[in-house]
Every structure is written in structure tokens, then in C-alpha cells.
Symmetry: D2
Subunit: 360 residues, 4 copies
């Protein structure tokens, strides 16, 4: 039991605050013999990083990963892999005025209520900066899943405020700053975001993550359900307010004759289930959705209170994402990969290697 | 780590299959001195039970709880509380034809893929029968939360297929068979369900659960987030496909200026957050939603395959709920109560008693 | 985290008090497909049981195991296996006088200090009666270990008060009531115990457990060390005050040139290490020792206090073992088997199947 | 579940190899508000460090702790406290000849058998270097225990090869290089160790750790027993082969009338139990013993095998402790402190603050 560890056999423990000296993680339980190099992390870390377009926060961190342990001669040894990233572009002065007030929509108030003491700078531990290490840890999980099982995990935006994609073209996703699967709409997104930024406001978003080639059999019938763990993993990302598998909330309005996926000798005829039945993977693509609230740190003023419960007006002027959902795409992929990795090892522990039976 | 245990300090381990001799649970970590009697469980178990109206499965179980341990002289001793309920109305014959086929929409296929061996009768371990023990365990959690902290957890249907409540009157909820907060609509619901049953089909539903008087400070900034654990708890209920906190998926379309809840000396001005900020309770009501898919076991035939992957047609004729979402209301309440109970003990472990500060 | 659960992937949760209606356990994480029948448990349960000779407590329990779940058509399904044993020969009246006093050497005082409330009858949860379920759970572990890995776990007494075996003949162990490996000494043991019982006193004992054919590679370099987990498992048996691996406490007086086991192409030249190096099994026999204190419940009077801290004299007249160490032999075997089972599954999870390399 | 994490609510995860760039740890679950500064660690780290006398390894590490997270304005925030120590005096060349051979008595062989790949330099993860972080983490635990509960944990050598103290004077312990409680014997110890070093051999040792002022009530009746967790903690220290509580192995030869500690209104009349009854602290001093084997890395040659199982002769010429037991004293204290800290938080979680009732 730990509040800062994720997973059971493939365990990731993260540490670090937004404006502390460093952030890092310890990955315990990694299978031995996996090829890992410091440069492997940069790809996904850059996808997650701020400062890569004008539509995200302008904080610029190199996110250079130092491997402190667990890798020898380029391969994992089976012992804890510790990764360290120094914080280099924190501007704590931006937060001086916020030390004694609570920013509405943020963890400021609740953190103070819980611990009675907090590092307010940049949100401290509650900052999305911590997700750097989730993405880094998942680079290792993704590699293992890909090499051993052929699993691929990919994500995309499925909604940006008022906009939804008119087309679903995965090849477009990595070619724009919005992980948007409809290249034709990118200019409209740019304009939408520019207007939003100018207005000093922010907007929510939704993400879809798909995992292909997951073998049937991962998960468990009850509390260790694959969908339950995905739900926790995704809801555990900053700003997420909703999580769904397959048809998600639409299921509430469906008939049984419509929702249940017929089976044929060639596999399932549809995938309303999102690749999970009874908490266990079916061999179909795993399909998850998540909804993220709009950034609370915006220029527009809002009433709040200070540590003495006196009324104040808060205007946040630091560097912030006008839509935190965008950069959450690689984070969501990361969490899905971490869940799959852990479930795979747990399955192998109890049952041995899964059959590579796929349902489609 | 366990696939059949829920919680960390207040731990519930359940066991039993739908058509085995009994189901039961072991509750470990209950604070000592709490008054508990065998009769205490009946209220919530009856709310969850089948056979109480024509709109649920007609299986009739007394659900009489035997306390096997952990209670002495009417009070908890701090040691494991084991509860046992004998299965008395299983009709395994109904499942004889299903031993070698996979029912679409069920865990049959995935269970077989995982374990290579299964008790197919009544869905075995994957049956909703198991939820009896979640509700029973939560009776103890609810009592502790109510007595020590004044917390009340209550649930209601928020959608039944095509129908949504026109009014929200909590006092109506327990007065009809649908946990429906709009008494005027109950006749329409009856007719809707009757038509559905006649058609041999089923329908999905959505549920809202609200926890009042939760003190600020429960949860954690990261993986032990209160919302992440609620998400896992609720997604872990059979048939659930989506989970949301506060404004949930609507958040994706909102502006920051709209979503963030302003604070005043008298508390929060609104509750878009659903009572959780940064993974920690704010003192406002905790508001959770969940969506359940329609029952897959319906009379209407569906293509499927058997154990040899040969095509078959499945028609399920046993006793089933035309809408599993209805009876899931007390189950969802139970899961929320279990999460709150566990988080409270964990908070007390690390930080001592929470301040009873509430945000509204 | 749980105070009543043992293991990580192969998890055993026990419940029940000495004089409650029943004791039982839930075994979670058992690999599927293992043959299990209710009768399988009787052999080891009888070895552990009281009332089989005049040298143990005269409480007579049938210890008939009911399998409540997790087994279908004679094989494990991968879901929790719940086992139940009803208590039938509790004589709670024997304890009426002890409800308000603390028996020296017992958990009475500490239990009261921790929970403020206790079931004093027969020691309640602290009774050795609970070990019935450890032995039952280990029957499943032993079978898996034997069938899949050829592992055999066996124990014997290595000391009984003032007596130590003059010979080590494993074939003698199961042929006497003392698990004594020296048949010629059995009459002396009988006389020794008869004299002790007549004197109203009790005596300590020591046990050795050996596990053969354990593959090299089980365990971990640090906190999940095989020896550390064996130490916890054995120290967790009632009355145990010392635990050792290989040469144990004698190691403190040895030279490095004497203790370290030389290696040859045919295996290790000796086994001072007791089959574990750096927390990981070496392929040699695992050799563990444990020391048990003498039974505290004896007829001889002893000063104590009552709940009000007033002085009293305690004389315990119920049915008790004059040497709890004797019956602890199958319990110690059980704990070793549970540790090996869990470590094997964990190893398979992280690293895949262990090589069957053995060091001797 | 994790192989590199210790504890449940107060969790310490360590990482790092002997000759890697750094070692470190993450302490999760620390209560907020505790005063912590980088300099606080030096005292105990220096007690554990090599190179402080000619009787330990001559590797000289500054062991300068960098606090990476979890502390703000000099106080713990409740989030993970990450500590980092760079390795600066590793001489990996000393190990070049050992890359392909197994050193008898070391984890070389078993590590290779488990993971198939290892960092052989300085023992890699199996090095005692890792214990630096246990001692560092325990500095925080010791402070909390001392400030909040008045608990003091202290250790001493109780045997050094053939020598045992003739007197028990705690004030002498910190005044010599051997943690020896008998100042008059120190010259004899010096001579003994010098002779040993000259002979190229090593020797075992035994340690006693005492914790004073532990309140009654910490622990649990069964698997979470205080003594069981101490046993795991102490057996988990490198080279430990035996662990005992109170009278330990002597208990096997005692009578019940001799061992059980009588109680009086003024407390217990003796402490054979070592402060723990039925797995729960009694309020008396907790007394633990441990035995450590002699260092396996000595100059004297020993037969072994290489990776191809061909015979070789191993002579270890690097820098090694002739008695690892000496420096293990602060490590043993550390492990006891970590167990008490974790048990205290767990007790507070389930039962609230313990009564400060002490049994003596």
C-alpha cells in the first residue's frame, strides 16, 4: 500500500515536486535482460513536454533522464531501475503571491487540509510535472510489451472543447501539436486555441487510447479487473474527471441485443466491450476514453479565500497550458501501458504465459 | 496484491461462486469496538437482492448472514470478521446447455482464456451474486463512517435506457423498485420494463452516488487519489463501462472559467469538481456517476462459438435481470463506502485524525 | 497490507477464533487446474491436531474441511479457495475465570492493550487453533510444489527441552508422536514428557525444516529475500522466539574460511548457508531452524494482574500442550511451503520459469 | 508487493548498486510536519560507514545525502522523501577478474541463476552498500519515534567470533570501533581483529538491539506480528543467519515456569519475552538478537566454478570488512526503527493513538 507507487509486480514509485531539485522514479520488478538506454526515454518525454508549441505552457525542461541503477551493460538486471530528471526551468517567483491563497480548481485547499503543510510552488507534488516520470517508466513497459507480446499502445485527442474530429486517421495524430486524428481540422484547432489563449481562458478535452494485440486472459474477474485498474490509472491523471471502456456512458442507453458483441469462428463481430469482458482482456483492441477538465490556472479572476479564510481574488499569471488535455495523450498511453505490463506479469505469475489467442 | 481483495487497511476479501455452496467475505482491519450483529446486514442485502420485484431476476435467496469470527459480545474485536451466506436457490440445470459455449457479452470466453478451466454455472465467480458480500462488508463501513464521521452514502438511478428523471427527490428513491428520484415517472418505468421483458431484451442504466459530510483531506495527490480509487471501485462492479466524478465527461466541453469552483469564506460556490480536488476530498459532497451496460443474458438469440470454436446460436433462458443497473445502486453505494472507510484509516495512519473542515 | 493475510501472489487469509463457531481461510492466487479434494487436507491436519497422544492437549476436533469455493470438478479454478472448519470441542467454561485476568506469557495483556476488547476464550484469535488453516492452505502449496517442481518439505524436532536427538533418521520422524528422528530415544521422550506433565510444567523445543529440490533462483537480493520471508513466516508461528537459516547462530563464531561453501562442477561442497545465498535459493536444500518457548498455560501458579491492575494468582487448568513445539512441526513445514509457493509465483511473474539448476 | 520496498504505511524503497552512479531511497508515507535537514543523516551514516577504522573495509565514501523531494521549508510535506547519495570511491577494476566466476558464500551464483544477467562489480545490488539507505531512512523514523513516542533504539555487539562481552555498559558502546559494551576488552578486540586480518580470514558476530519506551499495543496477533516483522527485517540484512526475540533459542531448553514473565501491578517481573507477547508489544523493552556469518570475501583461496561451470580458484583481494557484523549494528537499529515506525502508523490507522501503557 502506498500513495506514490503504481502497480503490483511492475511497480513504479515516483517522487519530486514541480519546483524541487529533481523528479524521479524507481521501477521495481522489471524483467531482466531488457535493453534500456538513457536516450530511449526522449521520444515520449518530448511528446509530453511543455514548450514544444505555443499551445502549451512555455516552461522548457530538457527532461534529460539519468539512469541511476538497475541497468548494466545496456540491459535491465532485474533490480530497481531509478530514473532522475533535474528541474531546470522552475520559476518559483511566479508563485510567491500564491503561497497563502487557494487557487480554485486546484489541490491547494485540499492538500493543505490533508497535510497542514505544503510546497505551493508550481503546485508542488500535485503538479503535472510528475507525469514526466510516468511517461518515462512506461517507455520501459511499452518496449517490453512490444517486443515480447507485440502490443502497441497509442492515444489521440477525441474532443477539444467544442470540437470533435470529423475523421479518424491514426497516421495524422503524431503530425500535429494536438494529437488530432483529422489533419484537415488542424488549422481550426490552431485558431480555436489562439482565441482561447487571448481570452485568458482554458478548455477541457477527451482522449482515446487503444491497445492492440493484447492477448486474451489479462485481468481478473473481480477486484483485479483489467478495466478497474485502467479506470484507476486514467482517473489518476491530473484533471481527469471521467473514464470509460468501450462504449462507456453510451452503454446506459443501449439494448442488450445491441451492446453484446456476437462471436464467430473468426473472432468477435464488433467491439462495444472495448476489449474487456468480465474484467479480462478478450483479445480485441482495448479501447479506453477519458475526459479532462479545463485548466484551472487562467488569467481570468476568480473569488477565493486565503489561509485565514478571508476573501481574495485570484488571477493566475504564470505559464500554464490552456488545455491540459493535449499533453495528457502520452500520459494516458503511459498509464495504459503500465497497467498492461503489471497485469501481464501477474498473469504469468499465477497462470504461466498467456495463450496468444486473439478475439478478432 | 490480490485479485479478490479490496482495500488496504480496511480490506475485504470475497470468495464464492454463483452456484457453489456459499459465498462469503473476510473483513480485515476493522477498528475494534464497533457494534455489529447478524441482523444488521439484512437491510442493504434486501435492497440488492433479486426476486423483490418482477423487474429483477427471480432467483430468491434469503441472504442470511452468519458471522463466523471477529465479533465478540456484539462488538468487533479488531480481528478478521468473516461473513458467510449459503446459496440456496441456484438452478444449475439452467446452465447445462451453456457448459461448452461462450455467451456473448459475458466473461465466459475471457475466463476460459485466462484459466483454461471454469465453473460455468451461473457465471461462476463472475456472477453478480458475489456483490452480495460487497454490500455486506459495506454495511460495517457505512456504520463506522456514519457513527464516527457523520458520513452518509446514498445512490439512485440517473438513467434507465431512454429515460432520465425529470425531478431529483431523494425521498422518492427508496419508495420504488427502481431507486428512481422522481415518483411521478414510476408508472412509466414499470411500463418500459414490462415492454422490455416482453421483447426478451435488456437495457443499460446510469447511477449517481453521493457521499455527504466527508471531511476534507481524504485521499492523496497521486496514485492513492480518492477519485482514482473510486473509479476502480465502481468500474469493478459487473457491467460498468464508465465512471465519472463531478461533471465527468461534460468537463471536456467546459471552459476553465466555468468549471473551477470559486471559494468563499462560507465554502465553495459550486461543485463541478464533485467534492475532490487533486485527488483529495474537499469537504463538499462526493458525487460519482457510473454507466452500466445492458444485461447480455437475454432471450433473443445471438451468434457465438463453442469451446472448439465452432459456430453456435445462444439463447439464454434462465433467470436474469432485464436491467442490471437497478440492483447496482446499493452495490455502488457499497463500493463508495468501502473506499471512504479505507481512505479514512489510511489518512489516520499517516496524518492522525482529519480536521472536520468542510468546504460548503 | 493486512494483518491476517500471508503471501503476495499466493495469498492466504485466515479467520476465526479458538472458541468461535468456525475457523477458515481464503487462498487467493492459486494456479488453475490443480487437483484438490476435501479429503486431501486430513493427513497434515491430523499430524497437527491435538488429542492424538497423551502428550498434547486433549481437545478433540475432527478438523473436517469444507471447500466453499474455487474448486470445480475437482480442480482449482484460479479463483479464491475458501476452506471452512467448524469448531466442535471448545470448552469455553474453562476460561470463565480468565475473562478478567491476564495469563502471564500469553497475548491476553497485549491484545487488550491494542484493541481494548477481546475474546478471551481459548486465547481467541491468538490461539494455536488458527494454525489449522495454515496447515490446510499449505496442503495445496505442497501439492503444487511437489507436482510441478519436485519440491519436498519436511520437518522434525531437533530439541525437546533438555533432550537432543543422538541420530538423524528421517524415516523415524513420522513413526512417533514427537516427530523425533531417533527411534531409540522415544521411550526416554515419553518418560520425560510424563514427568513434565505430572509436575504441571511445560518445556520448549526446537524444530528443523528442510526443503529439498528447490530450484536455484527463488527469492530476491533485498527485502523480498527468501530467508527474510522464511524468518517472518516461522517467527509468526505462536511461541516461536528464534529463527535460523543454515548454521544460524553458530555462524557468529565461525571463520570465513570455514563458513563459505566451496563450489565445484558437481555442486556445492557443503551447505553452511542452508541453501540460500544473498536472499536467493542456491539449489541446495533449504534448511531452517526455529525455537519455541515452553507453553505458558501450566498448572503451576504465577503472579499476575487483572483488568484493574490488581494482583491475582493465575493457575491454568484447561487442556494444554505441555510442549507446543511438538505439534508445531507440521505448522513450520506449512509456513515454509507457503513461502516457497509464493516466491515461485513471484519469480515466474518477473522472470519466467526458473531453470531447474540445482547446486548440489 | 515489491522486492525492494520495506514497510506498509511507512514505506522505504531503495535503489542502486555498489558501483553504479548512485544509491538512493524513496520514503513514502512519512507523516507531515517532521523537521528534516540534509545534515541529520550524517551521524548514523558515519556510524555505518567503511574506512573509519582499520577494522573495516577501506572504501571511503562521503555518504553526503541530497534531499530531492518531500521536504519544504525544513519540514516533511507528507509526499515521498527521496534521498540520493553518489558513489565516489568504487574501484570496479578490483572486480574485473570476478566477472565470470562465482565467489563462494556470495550471491554471485544465485543472482546469476535468478536473473541470468548481473552487475558483478562490488556485488552489485547485493552489496552492503545498499544498507546506507536503510540507515538514512531510519534516521527519519528514529526522529519521529523519539519525538512523538519517546522511543529509543540502540544496538551493540554481543559476540565477535570467539569473544563475548564480560560486562554490559551501554555508555561504552559508542566509544569504540566495535560497538562493544565492555571498554576493558577493546584492546583484546583490536588484537583479535589484527590477527584475523593478517591471517587473511574473517569472523562472524552477533548483535543485540533494544528499543525502549515502545508503547504496548504495536503489532498484531497473526501475520502482521511485531516479532515476525522484526525477524524479516533483521534476517533481511546482508549476512544475517539467525534472529531471536527475548530469550530466543535458549527458550527451547526452558520450562514454562521459568520463561513466562510474571506480572505485578508495577509491571512485568522479568523480560524473557523480549517485550513482545502474541505478536504485540507489551510495553517492556523490545530485545532482538541477530547472528551474522563471517565475510566470504577473504584473501584465503577457495575452490569455485566459473560461468561455464569449470573449476577455478578464487582469491578475493579487494577492500572488505574482516567482520561485517561490526558495521551492521547501526543497520540493525535502522531496521528495528523502520518496523516500529510502520507498525505505529498501522496501529494508528486501525485503532487510533496507542495508550502509553508500559509494562515495566
Amino acid at each position: 500500500m502506498s500513495h506514490n507507487t503504481f502497480g503490483h509486480l511492475f511497480r513504479v514509485t515516483t517522487f519530486g515536486e514541480s519546483h524541487g531539485p529533481a523528479i524521479g522514479c524507481v521501477i521495481d520488478g522489471c524483467p531482466p535482460g531488457l535493453a534500456i538506454a538513457a536516450g530511449d526515454f526522449q521520444g515520449d518525454l518530448d511528446r509530453r513536454a511543455t514548450g514544444r508549441s505555443r499551445h502549451t505552457s512555455q516552461r522548457r525542461e530538457a527532461d534529460a533522464v539519468e539512469i541511476l541503477s538497475g541497468v548494466y551493460q545496456g540491459r535491465s538486471t532485474g533490480t530497481p531501475i531509478a530514473l532522475l530528471v533535474r528541474n531546470t526551468d522552475a520559476r518559483s517567483k511566479d508563485y510567491d503571491d500564491l503561497a497563502t491563497v487557494f487557487r480554485p480548481g486546484h489541490a491547494d485547499f485540499t492538500y493543505q487540509a490533508k497535510y497542514g503543510h505544503r510546497d505551493h510552488r508550481g503546485g508542488g507534488r500535485a503538479s503535472a510535472r510528475e507525469t514526466t516520470m510516468r511517461v518515462a517508466a512506461a517507455v520501459i513497459a511499452k518496449r517490453f510489451l512490444a517486443e515480447r507480446l507485440g502490443i502497441a499502445v497509442r492515444g489521440r485527442l477525441s474532443r477539444l472543447g467544442d470540437l470533435v474530429p470529423a475523421a479518424l486517421d491514426w497516421s495524422a495524430v503524431e503530425a500535429n501539436a494536438f494529437f488530432w486524428p483529422d489533419a484537415a481540422m488542424v488549422p481550426a484547432l490552431e485558431a480555436y486555441m489562439d482565441a482561447l489563449r487571448k481570452a485568458g481562458d482554458s478548455v477541457g478535452a477527451a482522449i482515446e487510447v487503444v491497445a492492440d494485440n493484447v492477448p486474451a486472459g489479462l485481468g481478473a474477474p473481480l477486484y483485479g479487473k483489467l478495466d478497474a485498474e485502467l479506470a484507476a490509472a486514467l482517473m489518476g491523471i491530473n484533471a481527469v474527471k471521467g473514464v470509460a471502456i468501450g462504449d462507456g456512458f453510451d452503454s446506459a442507453g443501449q439494448r442488450g441485443s445491441e451492446h453484446r458483441d456476437a462471436m464467430t469462428p473468426d473472432g468477435f463481430a464488433s467491439n462495444h466491450a472495448g476489449g474487456i469482458l468480465g474484467g479480462i482482456s478478450s483479445g480485441q483492441p482495448i479501447v479506453c476514453s477519458l475526459a479532462l477538465k479545463p485548466t484551472s490556472s487562467i488569467r481570468l479572476p476568480v473569488p477565493s479565500v486565503d489561509l485565514d479564510n478571508a476573501p481574495v481574488t485570484v488571477e493566475v499569471t504564470g505559464r500554464h497550458d490552456p488545455c491540459v488535455g493535449i499533453r495528457a495523450v502520452p500520459i494516458a498511453e503511459a498509464m495504459v501501458a503500465l497497467v498492461l505490463m503489471d497485469q501481464y506479469l501477474r498473469h504469468r505469475g499465477q497462470c504461466g504465459e498467456p495463450e496468444r489467442r486473439t478475439g478478432s
